[in-house]
């Protein structure tokens, strides 16, 4: 530390952004982190990795849901990182009733809980189910679709870190193309995960015509909170898909989580939008679309695309086209904004 530090002006961290407790903003614009009134569904002391996007996303989502329901909230949790790191014996980070189900059945267990509350006349108690991308897009997909189709009174939140991180970073159907995982090694002619047709869960949820579907990002916690609050103001099946970077699985710096989440949005790879009864009602516009390479380069899981003098331009172009297609499909560019 320099000897002039004592005389330096106090800096409010992240000044001018909407990420964390900016005390320069009007009270209404501040994040809940700056508020002493924070609800705290998940308290500190859990054992998530440093920079865990899921810990952040779940805390804000659940806090928001807790506020919206005045604390009358039950959480159902599929097997996964969130389940493991918040509940190491004999501790728990949960301040609300919390039910660990199995890997693939959280939507169905939550549907049962909601049905029981209805029968018992306790519909004031609300149910949130949550899982990672593996538990949601893969093994729990059938139960999730059933929950949507019956319009069960459950908000399902998927924390998408794009692979099976809890078991050691194996691919899921949410893993992006070319990403290296423990089961998609960066070897051979097509290193990393395959360029598949994709499995867009929010769009699949929308195809069930459920009351509310939204995507959210840990880079925009205000937006995440607002979407959860809105969802809790509705009845029936609701779905929120939160992108949560994972330093361990992505091979990214633990202080890069927010930045990566933001770049995923600003590149067009992860569009932020809301939909009601199957139709998109709102999108978060992008001012300047950034190149996908800017987002991919800091992640070691894509390191094989950026080898010195041997940049894999073909793969990068394919991923760029995916981003561009999203920009077009969801009309993401702000008026006068710049595309890649």
């Amino acid at each position: 530390m320099s000897d002039t530090s004592a005389t330096q002006r106090v800096k409010f961290y992240q000044t001018g952004t909407h990420t964390v407790g900016n005390r320069l903003l009007d009270e209404a614009d501040r994040t809940v982190q700056a508020s002493m009134e924070r609800a705290n569904a998940i308290t500190s002391g859990h054992r998530a990795c440093q920079g865990c996007g899921e810990a952040l996303g779940a805390r804000y989502a659940l806090d928001s849901a807790m506020r919206a329901t005045e604390g009358k909230l039950v959480a159902v949790n599929a097997t996964g990182c969130l389940e493991v790191f918040t509940t190491p014996y004999p501790e728990t980070s949960w301040q609300i009733p919390w039910l660990h189900s199995l890997f693939g059945n959280a939507p169905a267990v939550a549907a049962g809980v909601a049905a029981a509350f209805r029968v018992k006349g306790r519909e004031d108690v609300r149910v949130v189910a949550q899982g990672g991308d593996g538990g949601t897009a893969d093994i729990g997909f059938g139960c999730l679709s059933g929950m949507f189709e019956r319009n069960d009174d459950v908000l399902y939140i998927c924390y998408d870190n794009e692979a099976y991180m809890n078991t050691g970073v194996q691919r899921s159907s949410a893993t992006p193309p070319a990403a290296r995982t423990a089961t998609t090694p960066a070897v051979g002619d097509a290193p990393g995960n395959v360029f598949g047709t994709g499995k867009n869960l929010p769009l699949i949820a929308m195809a069930h015509n459920i009351p509310y579907v939204a995507t959210a990002s840990v880079a925009n916690l205000h937006d995440l909170e607002a979407k959860v609050e809105k969802a809790m103001g509705m009845r029936g099946a609701r779905y929120i898909h939160v992108m949560v970077p994972c330093p361990l699985g992505w091979g990214s710096a633990s202080d890069a989580t927010i930045n990566l989440a933001r770049m995923a949005v600003e590149s067009g790879l992860f569009p932020l939008f809301e939909a009601e009864h199957g139709a998109v009602t709102k999108t978060n516009k992008i001012r300047h679309q950034i190149p996908v390479a800017d987002y991919l380069r800091p992640q070691l899981r894509f390191a094989h695309l950026f080898k010195k003098d041997r940049e894999n331009t073909e793969s990068l172009q394919r991923i760029q086209r995916m981003a561009d297609a999203n920009i077009k499909r969801f009309d993401l560019l702000e008026d006068g904004g710049s595309a890649q």
């Binding site: 097997t79 660990h100 199995l102 890997f103 693939g104 593996g134 897009a137 893969d138 093994i139 997909f141 099976y164 078991t167 050691g168 194996q170 691919r171 159907s173 423990a182 089961t183 998609t184 090694p185 070897v187 051979g188």
Partner: protein, 382 residues
Amino acid sequence: MTGETKLTNLQGNHACALAAISAGCDFYAGYPITPSSEVAERMSVELPRIGGTFIQMEDEIASMAAVLGAAMGGAVAMTATSGPGFSLKQENIGLGIITETPCVIVNVMRGGPSTGMPTRPGQGDIMQARWGTHGDHPVVALAPASVAEVWSETRRAFAIAEAVRTPVILLIDEVVGHLVETVAVDANPEPVTGRVWAEGDPANFQPYEAGPSLVPAMAKPGDGRRAHMTGLTHGPDGFPTQDPATASAMLTRLFDKIETHNSLIERFEAIDCEDADIVIVAYGISARAARRATSLARKAGLRVGLFRPVTLWPFPETAFRTATKSAGRILVAEMNAGQLRMEIERLTSENQHVEGVNRFDGEPITPEAILTAIDQSKEQAA
């Protein structure tokens, strides 16, 4: 095989993957689950190198189903999982048994029930392996006790599956799965003998007509024979039936088929059993502790032997009876509440006293625990 061996340092799960490939496995479908994920991870690297196929499926059920489909399509196929996944696979394992689809299912056993203790060892899936899928059916299950044996038993699992046309279950406990040992493996291993493909006039082909081997020859995909496979009870023509005689004949042949090939399937080890007063029965990692306990007891002048079934199902009944001929007391050491003990009690006489050395707390059984049980058993006998 050249007979040459090479020394290599291997984790049990990696040994399983490499032995599978050495045996001719060219298809793997799986789903991540602790403590078996290393099998899938190693397969994802190794299989593409030999032109094989690795698919990570969307769940455990799909993984088992894809293995059946691949084997029906002519591949030498396997999957690996652990307790919760093994539960999910059960209906498909039954389909594999009734359609006589050769495949290998690895279960790296952890503490249960349910999600249980994912990173801790258990041996609680012994009876699930036997009776996990519904209905009467024969089962082949093998339980290696070392990394070297993971290698040899994985190869044997494929040999049995392909020759006898049946799913084979490999029960590895978490300790053996994650154990790293130096093993001598075949330097130039040869694939196991492949399955019997149908020959002769395609027009007269009956998908489930079996000769004296009781193993029906399989229609090689694309060779013009009409394959007809169904989970419904069927006759030699493959068509569903509810005719009592045909239904009875199908299931009887399935049981008899396994018995006919028992010399290929059965494997056990009997150490110091000839004059033993007390025989320890143990498998997997528990057998390693039992072996140590047996040798310490012998040094202390006690007549103690070890019977180690490598093939758990069908249980080596005759060998067990022979090994325990002189024994008045039998101790079954296993990391569960006494699952194999039930089988042992069935096989012993009134004069033989059967006890369990059990733990299901996520820790392996120690030689000391078995020695203590030997002492207590001896006192009770006196």
